[in-house]
Protein backbone atom coordinates (compact mmCIF):
# COMPACT_ATOMS: atom_id res chain seq x y z
CA UNK A 1 0.00 0.00 0.00
CA UNK A 2 1.28 3.48 -0.82
CA UNK A 3 2.20 5.87 1.96
CA UNK A 4 -0.43 8.35 0.81
CA UNK A 5 -3.08 5.64 1.12
CA UNK A 6 -1.95 4.79 4.65
CA UNK A 7 -2.15 8.42 5.72
CA UNK A 8 -5.60 8.73 4.20
CA UNK A 9 -6.78 5.75 6.23
CA UNK A 10 -5.19 7.09 9.38
CA UNK A 11 -6.74 10.53 8.87
CA UNK A 12 -10.10 8.95 8.22
CA UNK A 13 -9.92 6.84 11.38
CA UNK A 14 -8.89 9.79 13.51
CA UNK A 15 -11.53 12.10 12.05
CA UNK A 16 -14.30 9.56 12.52
CA UNK A 17 -13.54 9.05 16.20
CA UNK A 18 -13.14 12.77 16.79
CA UNK A 19 -16.51 13.45 15.21
CA UNK A 20 -18.04 10.76 17.40
CA UNK A 21 -16.40 12.29 20.47
CA UNK A 22 -17.74 15.73 19.53
CA UNK A 23 -21.24 14.32 19.14
CA UNK A 24 -20.98 13.01 22.68
CA UNK A 25 -19.33 16.00 24.26
CA UNK A 26 -20.61 15.03 27.71
CA UNK A 27 -18.25 12.02 27.81
CA UNK A 28 -15.23 14.20 27.17
CA UNK A 29 -16.32 16.73 29.76
CA UNK A 30 -17.04 14.03 32.34
CA UNK A 31 -13.45 12.79 32.12
CA UNK A 32 -12.14 16.34 32.43
CA UNK A 33 -14.26 17.12 35.48
CA UNK A 34 -13.33 13.82 37.08
CA UNK A 35 -9.73 14.97 36.76
CA UNK A 36 -10.51 18.35 38.34
CA UNK A 37 -12.53 16.83 41.18
CA UNK A 38 -9.94 14.22 42.11
CA UNK A 39 -7.17 16.82 42.20
CA UNK A 40 -9.34 19.20 44.26
CA UNK A 41 -10.07 16.49 46.82
CA UNK A 42 -6.44 16.18 47.90
CA UNK A 43 -6.11 19.56 49.66
CA UNK A 44 -9.36 18.75 51.47
CA UNK A 45 -7.88 15.45 52.58
CA UNK A 46 -4.40 16.55 53.65
CA UNK A 47 -5.00 20.12 54.76
CA UNK A 48 -4.34 23.49 53.13
CA UNK A 49 -0.69 23.91 54.13
CA UNK A 50 1.01 25.60 51.17
CA UNK A 51 4.43 23.92 51.35
CA UNK A 52 2.94 20.45 51.63
CA UNK A 53 0.62 21.11 48.71
CA UNK A 54 3.41 22.55 46.59
CA UNK A 55 5.53 19.43 47.04
CA UNK A 56 2.56 17.12 46.44
CA UNK A 57 1.08 19.01 43.51
CA UNK A 58 2.84 17.43 40.52
CA UNK A 59 2.31 13.91 41.84
CA UNK A 60 -1.35 14.50 42.59
CA UNK A 61 -2.01 15.97 39.15
CA UNK A 62 -0.24 13.03 37.53
CA UNK A 63 -2.09 10.37 39.54
CA UNK A 64 -5.38 12.06 38.68
CA UNK A 65 -4.35 12.13 35.01
CA UNK A 66 -3.63 8.40 35.17
CA UNK A 67 -7.05 7.69 36.65
CA UNK A 68 -8.86 10.00 34.23
CA UNK A 69 -7.11 8.46 31.25
CA UNK A 70 -7.93 4.97 32.51
CA UNK A 71 -11.59 5.78 33.10
CA UNK A 72 -12.02 7.03 29.56
CA UNK A 73 -10.60 3.78 28.12
CA UNK A 74 -14.04 2.20 28.32
CA UNK A 75 -15.34 4.13 25.35
CA UNK A 76 -12.28 3.47 23.17
CA UNK A 77 -13.64 0.25 21.66
CA UNK A 78 -16.90 -0.56 23.44
CA UNK A 79 -19.16 1.64 21.28
CA UNK A 80 -17.80 0.19 18.06
CA UNK A 81 -17.98 -3.27 19.57
CA UNK A 82 -21.64 -2.86 20.47
CA UNK A 83 -22.83 -1.69 17.04
CA UNK A 84 -20.64 -4.09 15.06
CA UNK A 85 -18.31 -1.46 13.55
CA UNK A 86 -15.33 -3.10 15.16
CA UNK A 87 -16.08 -6.38 13.43
CA UNK A 88 -16.18 -4.57 10.11
CA UNK A 89 -12.83 -2.95 10.90
CA UNK A 90 -11.32 -6.37 11.52
CA UNK A 91 -12.60 -7.54 8.15
CA UNK A 92 -11.32 -4.58 6.12
CA UNK A 93 -8.16 -5.09 4.06
CA UNK A 94 -6.59 -2.08 5.78
CA UNK A 95 -3.97 -2.98 8.40
CA UNK A 96 -5.64 -3.25 11.79
CA UNK A 97 -2.70 -1.73 13.75
CA UNK A 98 -3.09 1.41 11.63
CA UNK A 99 -6.81 1.69 12.38
CA UNK A 100 -6.09 1.06 16.06
CA UNK A 101 -3.41 3.74 15.98
CA UNK A 102 -5.91 6.21 14.53
CA UNK A 103 -8.45 5.38 17.23
CA UNK A 104 -5.88 5.78 19.98
CA UNK A 105 -4.71 9.13 18.60
CA UNK A 106 -8.32 10.33 18.55
CA UNK A 107 -8.77 9.04 22.10
CA UNK A 108 -5.72 10.98 23.21
CA UNK A 109 -6.89 14.15 21.47
CA UNK A 110 -10.26 13.92 23.19
CA UNK A 111 -9.16 12.75 26.63
CA UNK A 112 -5.44 13.50 27.09
CA UNK A 113 -5.07 16.93 25.52
CA UNK A 114 -7.86 18.52 27.62
CA UNK A 115 -5.97 17.41 30.74
CA UNK A 116 -2.86 19.22 29.51
CA UNK A 117 -4.78 22.47 29.20
CA UNK A 118 -6.51 22.04 32.53
CA UNK A 119 -3.21 21.42 34.36
CA UNK A 120 -2.19 25.10 34.83
CA UNK A 121 -5.42 25.84 36.70
CA UNK A 122 -4.88 22.88 39.00
CA UNK A 123 -1.20 23.79 39.38
CA UNK A 124 -2.27 27.18 40.72
CA UNK A 125 -4.51 25.47 43.28
CA UNK A 126 -1.39 23.75 44.55
CA UNK A 127 0.76 26.88 44.49
CA UNK A 128 3.12 25.66 41.78
CA UNK A 129 5.45 28.24 40.25
CA UNK A 130 5.10 29.27 36.61
CA UNK A 131 8.13 27.21 35.58
CA UNK A 132 6.80 24.16 37.38
CA UNK A 133 3.46 24.53 35.62
CA UNK A 134 5.17 24.72 32.23
CA UNK A 135 7.20 21.59 32.96
CA UNK A 136 4.06 19.85 34.21
CA UNK A 137 2.25 20.69 30.98
CA UNK A 138 5.17 19.48 28.90
CA UNK A 139 5.34 16.17 30.77
CA UNK A 140 1.60 15.69 30.43
CA UNK A 141 1.86 16.40 26.72
CA UNK A 142 4.55 13.73 26.36
CA UNK A 143 3.11 11.26 28.85
CA UNK A 144 -0.64 11.15 28.18
CA UNK A 145 -0.24 9.62 24.68
CA UNK A 146 1.75 6.79 26.31
CA UNK A 147 -1.14 6.27 28.71
CA UNK A 148 -3.59 6.04 25.81
CA UNK A 149 -1.31 3.63 23.93
CA UNK A 150 -0.81 1.26 26.88
CA UNK A 151 -4.41 1.60 27.97
CA UNK A 152 -5.64 0.55 24.52
CA UNK A 153 -4.08 -2.90 25.05
CA UNK A 154 -5.99 -3.31 28.30
CA UNK A 155 -9.21 -1.99 26.78
CA UNK A 156 -8.92 -4.43 23.87
CA UNK A 157 -8.26 -7.41 26.15
CA UNK A 158 -11.21 -6.69 28.43
CA UNK A 159 -13.64 -5.94 25.60
CA UNK A 160 -17.11 -7.24 26.43
CA UNK A 161 -16.09 -8.87 29.70
CA UNK A 162 -18.14 -8.62 32.85
CA UNK A 163 -16.53 -6.19 35.27
CA UNK A 164 -14.35 -4.91 32.44
CA UNK A 165 -13.95 -1.46 33.97
CA UNK A 166 -12.40 -2.62 37.22
CA UNK A 167 -10.39 -5.28 35.46
CA UNK A 168 -8.82 -2.79 33.08
CA UNK A 169 -7.53 -0.81 36.06
CA UNK A 170 -5.82 -3.92 37.45
CA UNK A 171 -4.18 -4.58 34.11
CA UNK A 172 -3.23 -1.09 33.10
CA UNK A 173 -2.33 0.87 36.24
CA UNK A 174 0.84 -1.13 37.07
CA UNK A 175 2.03 -0.55 33.51
CA UNK A 176 1.48 3.21 33.90
CA UNK A 177 3.95 3.43 36.79
CA UNK A 178 7.09 4.41 34.79
CA UNK A 179 5.19 7.28 33.15
CA UNK A 180 3.98 8.45 36.55
CA UNK A 181 7.48 8.30 38.03
CA UNK A 182 9.14 10.33 35.31
CA UNK A 183 6.19 12.65 34.70
CA UNK A 184 5.95 13.78 38.31
CA UNK A 185 9.71 13.43 38.79
CA UNK A 186 10.44 15.94 36.02
CA UNK A 187 8.59 18.71 37.84
CA UNK A 188 10.40 17.98 41.10
CA UNK A 189 13.76 17.77 39.34
CA UNK A 190 13.28 21.12 37.66
CA UNK A 191 12.09 22.69 40.93
CA UNK A 192 15.21 21.44 42.72
CA UNK A 193 17.45 22.87 39.99
CA UNK A 194 18.51 19.56 38.45
CA UNK A 195 16.70 20.23 35.20
CA UNK A 196 13.93 18.12 33.71
CA UNK A 197 15.80 17.13 30.58
CA UNK A 198 16.66 13.56 31.63
CA UNK A 199 13.09 12.86 32.69
CA UNK A 200 11.74 14.38 29.48
CA UNK A 201 14.09 12.26 27.37
CA UNK A 202 12.89 9.12 29.12
CA UNK A 203 9.26 10.10 28.67
CA UNK A 204 10.02 10.67 24.99
CA UNK A 205 11.62 7.23 24.82
CA UNK A 206 8.51 5.67 26.38
CA UNK A 207 6.39 7.50 23.83
CA UNK A 208 8.42 6.22 20.89
CA UNK A 209 8.49 2.66 22.23
CA UNK A 210 4.76 2.64 22.89
CA UNK A 211 4.02 4.08 19.43
CA UNK A 212 6.04 1.27 17.92
CA UNK A 213 4.73 -1.65 19.95
CA UNK A 214 1.31 -0.86 21.39
CA UNK A 215 -0.75 -0.72 18.14
CA UNK A 216 0.37 -4.24 17.24
CA UNK A 217 -0.31 -5.62 20.71
CA UNK A 218 -3.71 -3.91 20.70
CA UNK A 219 -4.56 -5.30 17.27
CA UNK A 220 -3.61 -8.81 18.43
CA UNK A 221 -5.71 -8.35 21.57
CA UNK A 222 -8.69 -7.18 19.53
CA UNK A 223 -8.49 -10.23 17.29
CA UNK A 224 -8.39 -12.47 20.35
CA UNK A 225 -11.36 -10.71 21.93
CA UNK A 226 -13.47 -10.72 18.76
CA UNK A 227 -12.94 -14.36 17.83
Amino acid sequence: MSDAGMFAILRCAIRRDLVLAMRRRADVLTTLFFFVIVVSLFPLGVGPEVNLLRSMGPGVVWVAALLASMLSLGRLFSGDHRDGTLEQMLLTPQPLPLLVFGKVVAHWLSSGVPLVFMAPVLGMQFGLSQDAVLVLMATLLLGTPVLSMIGAIGAALTLGLRGGGVLVSLLVLPLYIPVLIFGAGAVEASASGLGAQAHMSLLGAFLVASLLLAPWATAAALRISME
Binding site: I153, G154, L157, T158, L161, R162, G163, G164, L167, L170, L171, L173, P174, L175, I177, P178, I181, F182, G185, F206, L213, A217, A220, A221, I224, S225, E227
Partner: protein, 265 residues
Protein backbone atom coordinates in the same frame (compact mmCIF):
# COMPACT_ATOMS: atom_id res chain seq x y z
CA UNK B 1 0.64 -21.66 11.35
CA UNK B 2 -0.71 -24.54 9.31
CA UNK B 3 -0.47 -28.05 10.68
CA UNK B 4 1.91 -29.30 7.99
CA UNK B 5 4.21 -26.34 8.43
CA UNK B 6 4.25 -26.82 12.15
CA UNK B 7 5.24 -30.48 11.80
CA UNK B 8 8.05 -29.47 9.45
CA UNK B 9 9.19 -26.84 11.93
CA UNK B 10 9.27 -29.31 14.79
CA UNK B 11 11.15 -31.82 12.65
CA UNK B 12 13.69 -29.08 12.02
CA UNK B 13 14.16 -28.53 15.74
CA UNK B 14 14.58 -32.25 16.33
CA UNK B 15 17.15 -32.49 13.59
CA UNK B 16 19.14 -29.47 14.78
CA UNK B 17 19.16 -30.51 18.42
CA UNK B 18 20.02 -34.11 17.59
CA UNK B 19 17.18 -35.24 19.77
CA UNK B 20 15.34 -36.90 16.93
CA UNK B 21 15.18 -40.25 18.67
CA UNK B 22 12.93 -38.97 21.42
CA UNK B 23 9.51 -37.70 20.50
CA UNK B 24 9.37 -34.63 22.73
CA UNK B 25 6.04 -33.56 21.38
CA UNK B 26 4.35 -36.71 22.51
CA UNK B 27 4.04 -35.01 25.89
CA UNK B 28 2.65 -31.80 24.40
CA UNK B 29 -0.70 -33.55 24.37
CA UNK B 30 -2.64 -33.09 27.61
CA UNK B 31 -3.66 -36.77 27.67
CA UNK B 32 -0.11 -38.12 27.75
CA UNK B 33 1.19 -35.29 29.89
CA UNK B 34 -1.47 -35.98 32.52
CA UNK B 35 0.05 -39.41 33.18
CA UNK B 36 3.64 -38.18 33.01
CA UNK B 37 2.91 -35.33 35.44
CA UNK B 38 1.28 -37.78 37.84
CA UNK B 39 4.42 -39.93 37.83
CA UNK B 40 6.73 -36.93 38.32
CA UNK B 41 4.89 -35.23 41.19
CA UNK B 42 6.03 -37.61 44.02
CA UNK B 43 9.68 -37.23 43.02
CA UNK B 44 9.61 -33.43 42.95
CA UNK B 45 7.58 -33.26 46.16
CA UNK B 46 10.05 -35.55 47.95
CA UNK B 47 13.01 -33.53 46.65
CA UNK B 48 11.35 -30.31 47.80
CA UNK B 49 10.69 -31.71 51.28
CA UNK B 50 14.21 -33.11 51.75
CA UNK B 51 15.91 -29.98 50.47
CA UNK B 52 13.70 -27.64 52.50
CA UNK B 53 14.49 -29.55 55.69
CA UNK B 54 18.21 -29.52 54.85
CA UNK B 55 18.13 -25.83 53.92
CA UNK B 56 16.27 -24.81 57.07
CA UNK B 57 18.65 -26.89 59.18
CA UNK B 58 21.68 -25.19 57.60
CA UNK B 59 20.04 -21.79 57.79
CA UNK B 60 18.88 -21.93 61.38
CA UNK B 61 21.34 -24.24 63.13
CA UNK B 62 24.61 -24.44 61.17
CA UNK B 63 25.02 -20.92 59.77
CA UNK B 64 26.67 -18.51 62.22
CA UNK B 65 25.01 -15.38 63.54
CA UNK B 66 25.69 -12.35 61.38
CA UNK B 67 27.99 -9.87 63.12
CA UNK B 68 25.99 -6.87 61.92
CA UNK B 69 22.41 -8.02 61.65
CA UNK B 70 22.30 -10.60 64.45
CA UNK B 71 19.76 -13.40 64.16
CA UNK B 72 17.33 -11.38 62.08
CA UNK B 73 19.32 -11.96 58.93
CA UNK B 74 18.18 -15.61 58.91
CA UNK B 75 15.02 -14.56 57.15
CA UNK B 76 17.05 -14.38 53.94
CA UNK B 77 16.87 -18.18 53.74
CA UNK B 78 13.21 -17.74 52.90
CA UNK B 79 13.13 -14.19 51.60
CA UNK B 80 15.80 -14.41 48.91
CA UNK B 81 14.67 -17.72 47.33
CA UNK B 82 11.07 -16.43 47.35
CA UNK B 83 11.95 -13.19 45.59
CA UNK B 84 14.13 -15.02 43.05
CA UNK B 85 11.31 -17.43 42.31
CA UNK B 86 8.71 -14.67 42.03
CA UNK B 87 10.75 -12.93 39.33
CA UNK B 88 11.81 -16.05 37.55
CA UNK B 89 8.33 -17.59 37.47
CA UNK B 90 6.99 -14.48 35.75
CA UNK B 91 9.47 -14.90 32.91
CA UNK B 92 8.80 -18.64 32.66
CA UNK B 93 5.08 -17.94 32.65
CA UNK B 94 5.46 -15.40 29.86
CA UNK B 95 7.55 -17.87 27.83
CA UNK B 96 4.93 -20.61 28.18
CA UNK B 97 2.16 -18.16 27.38
CA UNK B 98 4.11 -16.98 24.32
CA UNK B 99 4.52 -20.59 23.12
CA UNK B 100 0.81 -21.09 23.60
CA UNK B 101 0.03 -17.98 21.56
CA UNK B 102 2.46 -18.64 18.71
CA UNK B 103 2.43 -22.43 18.37
CA UNK B 104 -1.16 -22.80 19.52
CA UNK B 105 -0.25 -25.59 21.93
CA UNK B 106 -2.91 -25.88 24.59
CA UNK B 107 -0.64 -27.39 27.23
CA UNK B 108 1.74 -24.40 27.14
CA UNK B 109 -1.09 -22.04 28.01
CA UNK B 110 -2.23 -24.35 30.77
CA UNK B 111 1.31 -24.29 32.20
CA UNK B 112 1.22 -20.48 32.18
CA UNK B 113 -2.09 -20.46 34.08
CA UNK B 114 -0.76 -23.02 36.53
CA UNK B 115 2.40 -20.99 37.24
CA UNK B 116 0.70 -17.68 38.04
CA UNK B 117 -0.68 -18.46 41.54
CA UNK B 118 2.66 -19.89 42.70
CA UNK B 119 4.50 -16.84 41.39
CA UNK B 120 2.07 -14.53 43.15
CA UNK B 121 2.49 -16.53 46.37
CA UNK B 122 6.28 -16.18 46.23
CA UNK B 123 5.98 -12.45 45.55
CA UNK B 124 3.73 -12.16 48.57
CA UNK B 125 6.11 -14.18 50.76
CA UNK B 126 9.03 -12.05 49.60
CA UNK B 127 7.15 -8.87 50.56
CA UNK B 128 5.95 -10.24 53.87
CA UNK B 129 9.33 -11.59 55.01
CA UNK B 130 10.97 -8.41 53.72
CA UNK B 131 8.67 -6.37 55.94
CA UNK B 132 9.49 -8.56 58.96
CA UNK B 133 13.19 -8.10 58.25
CA UNK B 134 12.82 -4.39 57.63
CA UNK B 135 11.28 -3.69 61.03
CA UNK B 136 14.43 -4.47 63.10
CA UNK B 137 16.88 -3.39 60.37
CA UNK B 138 15.38 -0.20 58.99
CA UNK B 139 12.98 0.51 61.82
CA UNK B 140 9.98 0.30 59.51
CA UNK B 141 7.93 -2.51 58.02
CA UNK B 142 7.76 -0.77 54.73
CA UNK B 143 10.02 1.73 52.99
CA UNK B 144 9.51 2.95 49.45
CA UNK B 145 12.71 1.44 48.24
CA UNK B 146 13.25 0.34 44.67
CA UNK B 147 13.28 -3.40 45.15
CA UNK B 148 10.35 -3.50 47.53
CA UNK B 149 8.33 -1.33 45.22
CA UNK B 150 9.10 -3.32 42.10
CA UNK B 151 8.30 -6.57 43.93
CA UNK B 152 4.95 -5.06 44.87
CA UNK B 153 4.32 -4.08 41.25
CA UNK B 154 5.26 -7.62 40.22
CA UNK B 155 2.57 -8.90 42.58
CA UNK B 156 0.10 -6.52 40.89
CA UNK B 157 1.11 -7.89 37.49
CA UNK B 158 0.45 -11.46 38.66
CA UNK B 159 -2.91 -10.43 40.06
CA UNK B 160 -3.81 -8.68 36.81
CA UNK B 161 -2.95 -11.81 34.81
CA UNK B 162 -5.03 -14.04 37.08
CA UNK B 163 -7.94 -11.61 37.21
CA UNK B 164 -8.05 -11.35 33.43
CA UNK B 165 -8.05 -15.13 33.01
CA UNK B 166 -10.69 -15.51 35.69
CA UNK B 167 -12.98 -12.98 34.00
CA UNK B 168 -13.02 -14.82 30.66
CA UNK B 169 -15.25 -17.87 30.42
CA UNK B 170 -13.98 -19.24 27.13
CA UNK B 171 -10.69 -21.04 27.98
CA UNK B 172 -9.12 -20.41 24.56
CA UNK B 173 -9.73 -16.68 24.76
CA UNK B 174 -8.54 -16.67 28.39
CA UNK B 175 -5.30 -18.39 27.35
CA UNK B 176 -4.57 -16.01 24.53
CA UNK B 177 -5.61 -12.82 26.32
CA UNK B 178 -3.49 -13.89 29.29
CA UNK B 179 -0.58 -14.47 26.92
CA UNK B 180 -0.82 -10.93 25.54
CA UNK B 181 -0.86 -9.36 28.99
CA UNK B 182 1.98 -11.63 30.20
CA UNK B 183 4.13 -10.65 27.22
CA UNK B 184 3.32 -6.95 27.62
CA UNK B 185 4.20 -7.35 31.29
CA UNK B 186 7.50 -9.05 30.61
CA UNK B 187 8.52 -6.23 28.26
CA UNK B 188 7.57 -3.76 30.98
CA UNK B 189 9.20 -5.48 33.94
CA UNK B 190 12.73 -4.16 33.22
CA UNK B 191 11.36 -0.69 32.44
CA UNK B 192 9.43 -0.66 35.70
CA UNK B 193 12.41 -1.99 37.59
CA UNK B 194 14.80 0.69 36.37
CA UNK B 195 12.18 3.43 36.74
CA UNK B 196 11.70 2.52 40.35
CA UNK B 197 15.44 2.15 40.86
CA UNK B 198 16.17 5.65 39.63
CA UNK B 199 13.19 6.96 41.50
CA UNK B 200 14.61 6.03 44.88
CA UNK B 201 16.99 3.57 46.38
CA UNK B 202 17.90 2.83 49.94
CA UNK B 203 17.99 -0.94 49.88
CA UNK B 204 21.31 -2.55 50.69
CA UNK B 205 23.27 -3.66 47.65
CA UNK B 206 22.67 -7.11 46.27
CA UNK B 207 24.42 -9.71 48.40
CA UNK B 208 25.10 -12.08 45.55
CA UNK B 209 26.54 -10.97 42.28
CA UNK B 210 27.67 -12.92 39.28
CA UNK B 211 30.63 -10.67 38.67
CA UNK B 212 32.15 -10.31 42.11
CA UNK B 213 32.88 -12.76 44.91
CA UNK B 214 29.97 -13.24 47.30
CA UNK B 215 30.16 -10.98 50.32
CA UNK B 216 28.57 -13.52 52.64
CA UNK B 217 29.89 -16.50 54.50
CA UNK B 218 30.14 -19.68 52.52
CA UNK B 219 27.76 -21.64 54.70
CA UNK B 220 25.09 -18.92 54.46
CA UNK B 221 25.33 -19.04 50.70
CA UNK B 222 25.01 -22.83 50.76
CA UNK B 223 21.91 -22.63 52.91
CA UNK B 224 20.35 -20.07 50.62
CA UNK B 225 21.09 -22.04 47.47
CA UNK B 226 19.68 -25.24 49.00
CA UNK B 227 16.53 -23.34 49.87
CA UNK B 228 16.39 -21.91 46.36
CA UNK B 229 16.55 -25.40 44.85
CA UNK B 230 13.88 -26.54 47.33
CA UNK B 231 11.69 -23.67 46.13
CA UNK B 232 12.29 -24.83 42.57
CA UNK B 233 11.27 -28.40 43.34
CA UNK B 234 8.22 -27.19 45.24
CA UNK B 235 7.22 -24.97 42.33
CA UNK B 236 7.53 -27.80 39.81
CA UNK B 237 5.54 -30.20 42.00
CA UNK B 238 2.76 -27.70 42.70
CA UNK B 239 2.55 -26.56 39.11
CA UNK B 240 2.25 -30.16 37.92
CA UNK B 241 -0.57 -30.80 40.39
CA UNK B 242 -2.32 -27.64 39.24
CA UNK B 243 -1.84 -28.35 35.55
CA UNK B 244 -3.35 -31.80 36.07
CA UNK B 245 -6.41 -30.15 37.59
CA UNK B 246 -6.64 -27.75 34.68
CA UNK B 247 -6.34 -30.60 32.17
CA UNK B 248 -9.13 -32.54 33.90
CA UNK B 249 -11.34 -29.46 34.03
CA UNK B 250 -10.87 -28.61 30.37
CA UNK B 251 -11.13 -32.19 29.09
CA UNK B 252 -14.00 -33.20 31.33
CA UNK B 253 -16.21 -34.06 28.35
CA UNK B 254 -13.62 -36.29 26.69
CA UNK B 255 -13.65 -40.08 26.70
CA UNK B 256 -10.34 -40.56 28.48
CA UNK B 257 -11.45 -38.53 31.50
CA UNK B 258 -14.67 -40.54 31.60
CA UNK B 259 -12.56 -43.72 31.64
CA UNK B 260 -10.43 -42.28 34.42
CA UNK B 261 -13.50 -41.53 36.51
CA UNK B 262 -14.86 -45.05 35.87
CA UNK B 263 -11.56 -46.59 37.00
CA UNK B 264 -11.53 -44.49 40.16
CA UNK B 265 -15.01 -45.72 41.10
Amino acid sequence: MGHGRRIAYFDGIRWVTGLGNINWFKYASPVTFYGLAGRMIPWFSAAAAVLAVAGIYIGFFVAPTDFQQGEAYRIIFIHVPASWMSMFIYVVMAVWAGFGLVLNTRLSSMMASALAPTGAMFAFIALWTGALWGRPMWGAYWVWDARLTSELILLFLYIGFMALQAAIDDPRRADRAGAVIALVGVVNVPIIYFSVLWWNTLHQGSSISVTKAPAMAHIMLTGMLVMAIAAWMYTIAVVLVRVRCIILERERHSAWVADLVKEAK
